[in-house]
């Protein structure tokens, strides 16, 4: 029934992702040449990573209606967990036979996601009682707290686990058996497999009793509770799911970038996620990849095709453009690229 309705679009998307990846793999640099340097494998990987985060964020903000202005914190926790437990394994007393095994980073990624999810579940249980402005400010505060703790070495400077301002370098590439999942053209498949997986997961949630309950509590918590929906629990759970997804994306980012610094996960990155979510359309899972791609493309376009030609204007203007974009989109286009009605229409039409 419903599952097949979205399934078709999903498989088309998967096929498109695979096709682009295949071409890139066979003839590296093709995409960049075809788009005159606008799109690179690097950009596509970033888009994939953000897609994973945004699926969670859209479930949380678009469906459940709960603001999060600190989502980058969970992304950062995943990234730092992966970096710390691979690079600093020795200092943590993890035997080299384990830390050197190919499956170790994967296990860390999984455990980090579980831990971050559990952390969010606990925090969410408490702070999701807040609404509107207040929840927005609390999540913002939470994001900044996590950022400061990462930046300040978890308060344990003698151990130097997070590396402070400078972060951690030398995060190893992911491997399967003896094969390293690299160069970027290969890693692209890893990231997009995660992105498509996250989207499938998100679509499943949306088209399920839980998804219905999320939309219901968005509309009226009072009424949702009156028919037996455990609103507090469901909100905390969806917060945890979004955090766990962000954590996985963070881990994948750490292994991609090979270096992590706290500034990547601060206040502005959290807002950047909100912008992507808003641009793509919060109330749609498809808004996740679209929003990520649209914002990254726009940034790249500005960097290479607009600002690059204007003399004496460097990348410094990026925040201005980014801020203006945020304002303009929120003022004139708050529903984003994919308004859910269109998606719903598509779902109904194909059913």
């Amino acid at each position: 029934m419903m599952a097949r309705a979205w399934g078709r679009t999903w498989f088309l998307a998967a096929a498109a992702v695979a096709a682009v990846g295949g071409v890139e793999l066979a003839w590296p640099g093709t995409v960049a040449r075809l788009t005159r340097g606008l799109v690179s494998a690097d950009l596509l990987i970033r888009a994939g990573l953000f897609t994973v985060v945004l699926v969670g964020l859209n479930l949380l903000m678009g469906y459940a209606g709960q603001a999060s202005l600190g989502q980058a914190a969970f992304y950062g926790l995943g990234a730092f967990a992966s970096a710390i437990f691979t690079v600093r394994a020795q200092a943590l007393g993890i035997p080299p036979s384990v830390a050197g095994a190919w499956w170790w980073p994967w296990l860390v990624m999984l455990l980090a996601a579980v831990a971050v999810g559990a952390f969010a579940l606990g925090v969410g249980w408490v702070i999701l009682r807040l609404r509107g402005h207040y929840l927005a400010m609390a999540t913002l505060g939470l994001g900044i707290i996590v950022y400061i703790v990462l930046r300040e070495n978890l308060g344990l400077p003698h151990l130097n686990l997070t590396g402070g301002f400078d972060g951690i370098v030398g995060v190893p590439r992911l491997r399967v058996g003896g094969a390293e999942l690299w160069p970027v053209q290969v890693y692209y498949f890893v990231v997009w497999a995660a992105a498509l997986g996250a989207m499938a997961l998100g679509l499943n949630v949306v088209h399920s009793p839980a998804g219905r309950a999320l939309r219901a509590l968005h509309g009226s918590e009072l009424a949702a509770e009156s028919v037996g929906v455990d609103v507090g629990r469901l909100k905390a759970q969806i917060f945890a799911l979004s955090a766990a997804l962000a954590s996985v994306a963070g881990s994948l980012y750490a292994h991609f970038q090979a270096a992590v610094v706290p500034d990547t996960f601060g206040f502005v990155p959290s807002l950047e996620l909100v912008v992507m979510s808003a641009v793509g359309g919060m109330s749609s899972i498809w808004g996740a990849p679209l929003g990520a791609l649209a914002v990254l493309l726009l940034e790249q376009l500005l960097r290479t095709h607009v600002l690059g030609f204007v003399p004496a204007v460097s990348g410094e203007l990026e925040p201005v453009v980014f801020g203006l974009m945020l304002v303009v989109i929120m003022m004139f286009w708050p529903a984003g690229l994919v308004s859910s009605r269109r998606v719903q229409g598509a779902v109904w039409a194909s059913r």
């Binding site: 599952a3 997961l201 949630v205 088209h207 009793p209 219901a216 009226s220 009424a223 009156s226």
Partner: protein
């Protein structure tokens, strides 16, 4: 108090920041009856409903449903125990269809955790199909089937009251709390609503309702309780209550509210 009551409100007091909304109210609802609750504006009727639905906790006193105390339970637990409600100012889920409203009402039956939903287990799909059939049957009963796939915000108010009722019935309640089911409806719709409520009672659902329309409540209720300024004024069969001088005074004192 008789043993066979479904709901017993025992000396319940509720104060908001020192302002007493209900004081020492005791009443009971027996299974299979339609009980009306009336009173001038601000008498504490909706507060009492919120207490029964566990949206509020009483400052003092006890509320017993089917032999167990409801005090301290979260609202979704009240629904699980078999208390469903509608709202004075209709509470719908914008953007969701009529069918989806009923499906949310069936949420408890889906017994689907977030994990099962994210993985779309086979059992979940089977349940979903069964729930859909049940929801459609319910809509059919309330003559809502033609609007099943219509988003609620496009519906007129009269239908919204019925959508709320359908959603509440999806919970399969033992006790149905109706907060002004007739308000905003035209006379024809009111009659249909009364008919519907009687039908529910005949099926064994106990109904407790707040209503301002005296004609409607007196024609519908088996028993009526009157609240005024947070205390119970009197209780009894409609005819008797109507003649009670205290009730007349309370209403006259307030002006023509009813």
């Amino acid at each position: 108090m008789s043993r066979d009551s479904l709901l017993r409100v025992e000396r319940v007091t509720k104060a908001f920041d020192g302002l007493v909304a209900l004081s020492e109210v005791s009443l009971e609802v027996r299974p299979g009856q339609i009980k009306g609750l009336i009173g001038p504006n601000g008498a504490g009727k909706t507060t009492l409903f919120n207490l029964i639905a566990c949206c509020l906790a009483p400052s003092a006193g006890d509320i017993v449903f089917c032999g167990r105390s409801l005090v301290g339970l979260p609202p979704h637990r009240a629904a699980e125990l078999g208390i469903a409600r509608t709202f004075q100012n209709v509470q719908v889920f914008p953007g969701m269809t009529v069918l989806e409203h009923v499906l949310v009402g069936l949420h408890r039956q889906a017994r689907a955790g977030l994990a099962a939903c994210a993985l779309q287990t086979v059992r979940l799909r089977r349940t979903e199909r069964r729930l859909r059939e049940e929801a459609e049957a319910l809509l059919d009963r309330l003559d809502l089937l033609p609007w099943a796939e219509v988003p609620v915000e496009t519906l007129p108010f009269g239908l919204l009251r019925r959508v709320e009722l359908a959603r509440a019935l999806a919970v399969r309640p033992k006790l149905l709390l109706l907060d002004e089911p007739g308000s905003g409806l035209n006379p024809t719709e009111k009659q249909a609503m009364s008919q519907l409520v009687r039908g529910l009672r005949d099926e064994g659902i106990t109904v407790f309702l707040v209503e301002h329309d005296m004609t409607m409540v007196m024609g519908l209720a088996d028993e009526v309780a009157v609240l005024d300024h947070g205390s119970l004024l009197c209780e009894g069969p409609p005819q008797q209550v109507q003649r009670d001088p205290r009730v007349v005074a309370a209403y006259l004192g307030e002006g023509d509210d009813a």
